[in-house]
Amino acid sequence: MSMNSGHRQLLLLFSLVLLHVFMVVPGFFAPYDYSEQNRELPFSPPTRLHFIDSAGRFHLMPFIHPFRASEDGSAPYVEDQARAYPLHLLKDGAPYRVLGLWTARLHLFGVEQPGRIFLFGTDDFGRDELSRMLFGGRISLLAGILGAAMAIFAGAVLGVLSGFYGGWLDGLIMRTAELFLALPWLYLLFAVRAILPLHIKTTQTLLLLITVVGLVGWARPGRLVRGIVLSAKERNFALAAKAMGASNFHVLRWHILPGTYGVLLTTAALLVPQFILAEVTLSFLGLGVGEPVPSWGSLLAELQNYSVLTSYWWMYLPACSLIVLFLTYHWASTTLQDKVAEVRS
């Protein structure tokens, strides 16, 4: 039942890489473009894959029945049994760009026109949720990583400086941290968004806003790091090193900083999800990416509507994928923490 730690770490690495590959080339895994609307099929439930047809024969390759509006009011859609489309792997489809460099048309799977395969259902404009989730993940993940990186970097630098040198520098940095924590950064974001020219692509605007939130967010990691450094620098090993003539930099690098790695790792694994959530909040407030570009924040924003919350269960799936991602990060963070502890002891 239990794997040894080497296997576990490989599995972890593999899942992380897999998740991020989805994000790097979403076009390949998604059957459709994220903005393709199907106005006659709003809020259609996920397409069902069938292996056994009406005659009782088994097919290796599953097939689907398209949905059509139902006559009676029992459900909005019923399967059109008269038509069936088999699933094709490695199919040609809508063009997409790979890493912004070249255009490709190959998709992992798809069905013949005019069939449609919606593995995760559709949204209110009949757009495929799976495709939107894959494309949206790219933006949200980028926002999360960028924001967390900014916050951690700024926080670590300032926290270490503040804790190590103490005195007036510490006072200044800590007061500035409090200033940053107290500011109504929402106003700042509104102001920044409002003065930007209209032509900046909304993805770029979002990343700019996340950078702002990230830079503003250095205060918490900074305070935590400072606390640790303050305590560490008075510890025996640090004092001993100084007594032996080590430079400040040496003491910092070899004796004090390692004490912060635990906190920084926890914080990193915590901040990425938090900044993804920050992107979600920004989307709720209308400061996120503009239509039709999806992000997990804008996909989750659909749940704000009570009737969507209660009637269309497949709209929860972006939330589930978010949770899967966060679980993976959490797993990574605890494993790394334990590894660091191992190495140090």
């Binding site: 106005r39 409002a194 996120g288 503009g290």
Partner: protein, 591 residues
Amino acid sequence: MKATATRYRFWKWALLVLAALAGNMGPTAAAGPQDYAKSGGETGEPGGKLVVALRSEPKTLNPILSVDVTSREVIGVLNADLIHINRETQRTEPALAKSWTISADGTKYVLQLRREIKFSDGAPFTANDVVFSFELYLDEKLHSPQRDLLAIDDKPIVVKKLSDYSVEFDLAKPYGPAERLFDGLAILPSHLLEKPYHDGKLQQSWSTSARPEEFAGLGPFKLSSYVPGQQMTLQRNPYYWKKDPRGNSLPYLAAVTFLFVPTEDAQVIKFQSGETHLLERLNADNFTLLQRGATAKGQCLQDLGPGLEFQFLVFNQNHLDSGKAPDLVAKQSWFRDLKFREAVSLAMDRKGMARLVYSGRATPIWGNVTPGNKLWLDPNLPHPERSIEEARKILQSGGYSWNSGGTLLDPQKRPVTFTIMVSSSNVQRSKLATLAQDDLKQLGMDVQVVPMEFRALVDRLLNTKDYEAVLMNLVNGDVDPTPEMNLWLSSGETHLWDLGEAHPATPWEAELDHLMEAQMTTNDPAARRKLYYRVQEIVAQNLPFIFLVSPNILVAAQSTVGNFHPAILEPYVLWNADELFVGRAGAAKCQ
């Protein structure tokens, strides 16, 4: 000794008889010199308590200062006006003024007031209160928003007291919708507010934190209590000046409680659980949700059809300095091209918008007058069907072409790309913008939707004029076209597509100016209608706005609410609060 005792007994009996007689002469007597109005609804059961949810708290209960919808709604049931617009028929009817005459030249209105009416604190209502109220509305130092409505050509109306129960209003010019001006102008008690006014403290009076004793009004209810952030309770005004056809005094309700519930979802939940009796305006999704259980519970859900709100797309046609914004000015060559706008209008999938964004509970429109406006809609306006091919043909005839990738190129071979700004706080408008963007993609236009916070959007629209296209909405305040003059007049401050023009920029805008002025100063309704039909024709031909859809008014009531006659004019369900009653189940008869 005996004589004193007898005299004492005589006086005691005399006093008792006098007291009995005096008691009978109170306001509840059916006979008497008071001019009470008669209501038209069905007879209801007295004593019910109504609970209604409001989206936000009223900011003030002072009619001079109120600007927001919620304050106006609460003030509306606490006060009364001289002439009232019946929300169901959309016509004026007598209120505190029982009759009026108009002079031959149309500039003098003499209103006869109802006699022997009292304020909610028992003080008498006379012409002094009317003159005092209008003095406040017209006082420049108080900055009342109602002041602008009472000024024609910048000349304020003159109010003169003719006798204790008649008042004369002098207008500078004949004014077609003069009667409608009086609706919503609450008549204030001079006996309570005169002193604060002369002391300069009127703006601090009648805030929401004032005590109930400080108020007096002529409306069906008076303030009873207020818990900040949670609820406001009103109680019945025993001196209200209306009776039902059987002679019972109105209102039927003993109390009305307003709960402050900020989100619509929470309001729907409270209605479902029976905590509130009425829902004022639902969105389509919640309406569908409520419909599922409504028949079982006997709830009345009504789709009243389109209201007076219209959603539209407007392109920036302001005259701008090409040195400062060369890109924008270059793009304006498209926005000013009528063929461009015609093509955009033909490409819009209005039916799809109504179906997808409003679950079918919206009406496609091609003009600013919606089908909800029974009196003023031009029945002969064309309703062109959506057609991408037609739109493409029109663009081609205007010199536009397409490159191999399908992108639209203008006559100078520049690719057509622009942004549509939309308010980020309104989910439905963002969705309309998404649909519009997809529609325009089929014409080869590269459109980006930019969500922006509302006030920043308004700043760009009205102050800096730094925008390309905006998708927004406006709501007409009344069915009558005159309050919206500033939209159509070239010098008007909300002449959105081209602000700040002293003179009309095009011949058709000149004609609009002329027509709007004419309909304002004519008293003949048929003539006004003809003039306004022509206005609608011109607007439909020249497309300064590209009209999209008008959302339907959706309301709901529990089955126990009687006399439920919702209307498409604000306040949709409470306009006849004086006739509403809470009775046995099934009282709310749904059409």
